[in-house]
């Protein structure tokens, strides 16, 4: 087990390192740079050169990369070129917003999606199953940002309500925070509820066909016990893997709708920094995304092994 964890961690580090090179090379390949965005249309060439020196942009790309890498290894992601504030602080602040939203979606959708899936699976073939399946297919096919747009339009038009536009941290006021996040959360949750319900249903149907479940049924064990005690425990392992996958997917969805709701999350940070060619922030944000995605996968792998003894050998 320890060997496995060490090996996986090493592989993860290697991946992050390779990916950081890809990120760096791509960011530098972008046409235009921050100098243009700062100087606008009227800058002088001396001023341009001065700023280029200031940001180290006059150095060859590989020098810039190793310089950056050297500092990143010690935990220094540099400062935003636009604002001078530490990249790490900007990225962590933004990440917290995206992460909280993603976590909310994960919780809400598993709380609703898993029971729906259990119900549909247990009653496979019934009218309830058909309705739940129709719901699943429909929301799996619906783009998250479009649903968000429709919610914003519908609620604003018919209920004269829209989320407050200034983000409030949950630490300052949890109530205000949840009011702000309610609509973005709802737009993301439908898809994930459908994903959960479908996933769980499929596993329940499979489990119910297995001999031990049939035996339990024959012995007259109540349906609730079979589902809760036996079936659910059996699908727990794949469910955890699935949660990891879904969490990364939710993070992606969060990014697309952040601009729509004006949330100061990672997606908006990234898109704005990309637009402004604020390279340290772009690099920092992407590396953060990478690390979190890889960490989640790693965590899932380890959990998977911890829960399922068969995989330990």
């Amino acid at each position: 087990m320890t060997r496995f964890i060490v090996f996986r961690c090493l592989a993860a580090v290697l991946t992050v390192w390779l990916a950081s090179m890809v990120v760096f090379a791509m960011v530098r390949a972008a046409p235009g740079d921050i100098i243009e965005m700062m100087m606008g249309q009227m800058g002088s060439s001396e001023g341009e050169a001065a700023l280029r020196r200031f940001f180290g942009l006059d150095q060859p790309v590989y020098v810039q990369y190793f310089d950056w890498l050297g500092r990143v290894v010690t935990g220094d992601f540099g400062s935003s070129w636009r604002q001078g504030s530490p990249v790490l602080e900007l990225v962590i602040n933004a990440f917290t917003v995206s992460f909280e939203l993603a976590l909310l979606v994960l919780i809400v959708s598993s709380l609703i999606g898993v029971p729906l899936g259990l119900l549909a699976g247990y009653r496979a073939g019934s009218a309830v199953d058909t309705i739940i399946q129709a719901f699943n297919v429909l929301f799996l096919a619906t783009p998250v940002f479009w649903l968000a747009l429709m919610l914003l339009f519908g609620v604003s038009t018919f209920f004269y309500w829209s989320p407050p536009t200034i983000y409030v941290s949950p630490l300052r006021s949890l109530g205000d925070n949840l009011v702000i996040l309610a609509m973005p959360m709802a737009s993301l949750a439908f898809l994930q509820i459908a994903a959960y319900a479908q996933f769980v249903r499929q596993h329940v149907v499979q489990a119910l066909q297995q001999d031990y479940v049939r035996a339990l049924k024959a012995r007259g064990v109540p349906a609730r016990t079979i589902l809760g005690k036996h079936v659910l425990r059996n699908i727990l392992v794949p469910l955890i893997t699935f949660m990891g996958l879904i969490f990364i997917q939710i993070l992606g969805g969060v990014v697309v709708i952040e601009s729509l709701f004006g949330l100061p999350g990672l997606g908006r940070l990234l898109v704005n920094a990309l637009y402004a060619r604020d390279f340290p922030v772009v690099q920092g944000a992407l590396v953060m995304v990478l690390i979190s995605a890889i960490a989640i996968n790693l965590l899932v792998d380890i959990l998977y092994r911890a829960i399922d003894p068969r995989l330990r050998s």
Partner: protein
């Protein structure tokens, strides 16, 4: 996230005002004193009924990248910077200069030496007193291109800045410039405490604190979210500002902004798409304010780009454009069709459109000109637009149709702002839509853009000797009549040779809640008006 940035950094203030003001055209250039009437024009009209206090939330589609005001260009910064940073001179809604940090000034006979007497008893947000040495430091720092400043070219004319005594500053120019006072009213002329940039981490610190002399100070700036300004308790103008607090909320898209306005999440919003105003017209509790601007939406033609090298091709393109239709498509007609100057300057400086060549559609002549230029089958050309500028796409689509009628086949190419700016500054703008504004003076509007190199930037590679001579004469002439005659000739040349087609200027559209009182948008589109705005909540 449309951002109307200005091409001309020396944007000042002037135009036909949204609210009627005294005509001060007869005022002489020298010795303006701070009389009550004139003081009333600084930051708009005062309101005797105003109540002190209260907070105002402003929705903004654009967000300042940073408040490092000496190194960061952009309309998003211009928008709010004047609330925190002040200049020596202020230009009112009509474009007349008024004393701000300078109490008065004297100008020598040929407008090459400007001597300013500074206001006493003014302090910076840092607590330091405001003195001549600060003015010298600020102007010297800004005009030194080696510092990477954005306004170096604006002040390239300055020869020396001398602090004669703590309250007197003398600026000597390399050549006469009758528009220098107006140049100083741009935020590039903002005064900061001496040696500020020599301090440690000075650039970054400007994002958490402000160091100007303005009526508001910066207390909080959260990227991608909001910024908060608080009333400057030590402000030098008695009784001002009225508000205790201004919160600017950055909302990244029009849909979110409209919802926020309609549901009372913000008290005021500047709309970049005037169409949205129509949707809010009937909504209770809201007022839509519309006023004339100093900006222009234009079509630029690089005179060294492909078929555009031939003047006849450029003329043919001009002859195919129905500006009214383009404006209708782009901004639902909420603006003014232009000839050769911006809306706010048309009355005082513009040549009537009827007297300019190439202003009315003539497809037959356009075709004939193209054939003459060796393109009997028409031409293919790429039209560039900038991502994030909402008006450009419908305008470009309309132009595609209009130009096709004369055999000019256009393909649209969307560029991101960074790439576009790179092309622009490298003088490879090609055939592109552009969006820029100007301070209310023809010298500032035309010189940089249309004077041949090296004195001007000549972004469009026009290299026109006659035009350059006229621009030199215009800069040195003092009397209004002389200047007007010179700029009339220049404008006719501009319309004849077509390095640019100024299509239309968009009006400023501001939606305010009924609790917001005494707000007037300055023609330049910056939030000067908030100094005298108050809320009745």
């Amino acid at each position: 996230m449309s951002e109307t940035f200005d091409t001309n950094r020396r944007r000042l203030l002037k135009s036909v005002a949204a609210i009627p003001l005294l005509s001060l055209l007869g005022m002489s250039l020298t010795g303006v004193s701070a009389q009550a009437a004139a003081a009333d024009l600084v930051y708009g009209a005062s309101d005797p009924a105003a109540k002190q206090g209260g907070s105002l939330t402003v929705g903004s589609l654009i967000e300042p990248p940073s408040f490092d005001i000496y190194h960061q260009a952009g309309e998003a910064v211009n928008f709010v910077a004047p609330l925190m940073y002040q200049t020596l001179v202020y230009a009112d809604h009509d474009g007349n200069p008024h004393p701000l940090l300078a109490e008065s000034w004297e100008i020598n006979e040929d407008a090459s030496v400007y001597t300013f007497t500074l206001r006493s008893g003014v302090t910076f947000h840092t607590g330091q007193p405001f003195e001549a040495a600060d003015v010298k430091y600020s102007l010297d720092y800004m005009r030194n291109a080696e510092n990477g400043t954005i306004g170096a070219l604006d002040f390239a004319d300055i020869d020396t800045v001398e602090a004669i005594d703590p309250l007197t500053v003398r600026v000597t120019l390399k050549q006469p410039n009758s528009a220098f006072l107006i140049t100083l009213t741009h935020r590039n002329g903002s005064i900061i405490p001496r040696d500020w940039y020599a301090g440690e981490n000075a650039r970054a610190r400007l994002n958490s604190t402000s160091v100007g002399t303005g009526p508001f100070r910066l207390v909080e700036f959260v990227q991608n979210s909001y910024m908060r300004l608080e009333r400057n308790q030590d402000y030098w103008q008695p009784g001002l500002p009225y508000l205790d607090e201004i919160v600017v909320n950055f909302i990244p898209n029009s849909a979110g902004m409209l919802v926020a306005v309609r549901n009372g999440r913000v008290d005021m919003a500047v709309l970049v798409r005037p169409q949205d105003a129509e949707q809010l017209e009937g909504v209770g509790g809201l007022t839509v304010q519309r006023s004339r601007s100093l900006n222009q939406k234009s079509l630029d033609l690089d005179s060294e780009y492909g078929p555009l090298k031939d003047e006849r091709v450029r003329q043919a393109i001009a002859l195919l454009i129905d500006k009214q239709a383009v404006m209708q498509a782009a901004i639902s007609g909420y603006g003014q069709v232009l000839g050769t100057t911006v809306p706010g300057l048309q009355e005082r400086w513009g040549v009537p459109l009827g007297e300019l060549p190439n202003q009315t559609v003539d497809v037959d002549r356009a075709k004939a000109l193209l054939a003459e230029a060796g393109h009997p089958d028409g031409i293919d050309i790429e039209l560039r637009t900038i991502i994030g500028y909402d008006w450009m796409e419908p305008a470009a689509l309309t132009l595609v149709e209009q130009l096709a009628k004369g055999g000019v086949r256009v393909a649209i190419q969307r560029l991101d702002l960074g790439t576009w700016l790179q092309n622009f500054r490298a003088r490879q703008m090609g055939f592109t839509l552009n969006d820029w504004g100007t301070p209310p003076d023809p010298n500032i509007l035309y010189y940089r853009h249309f004077h041949k190199k090296p004195q001007g930037a000549d972004f469009r590679n026009w290299a026109n000797d006659e035009a350059s001579t006229l621009l030199d004469e215009g800069r040195q002439a003092l009397a209004y009549e002389d200047r007007k005659a010179i700029y009339d000739r220049f404008q006719k040349l501009l319309a004849e040779s077509v390095p640019t087609v100024m299509m239309f200027g968009a009006d400023h559209i501001v939606v305010v809640s009924d609790t917001v009182k005494n707000h007037a948008m300055h023609p330049i589109g910056w939030h000067f008006g908030l100094v005298k705005t108050w809320v009745d909540k």
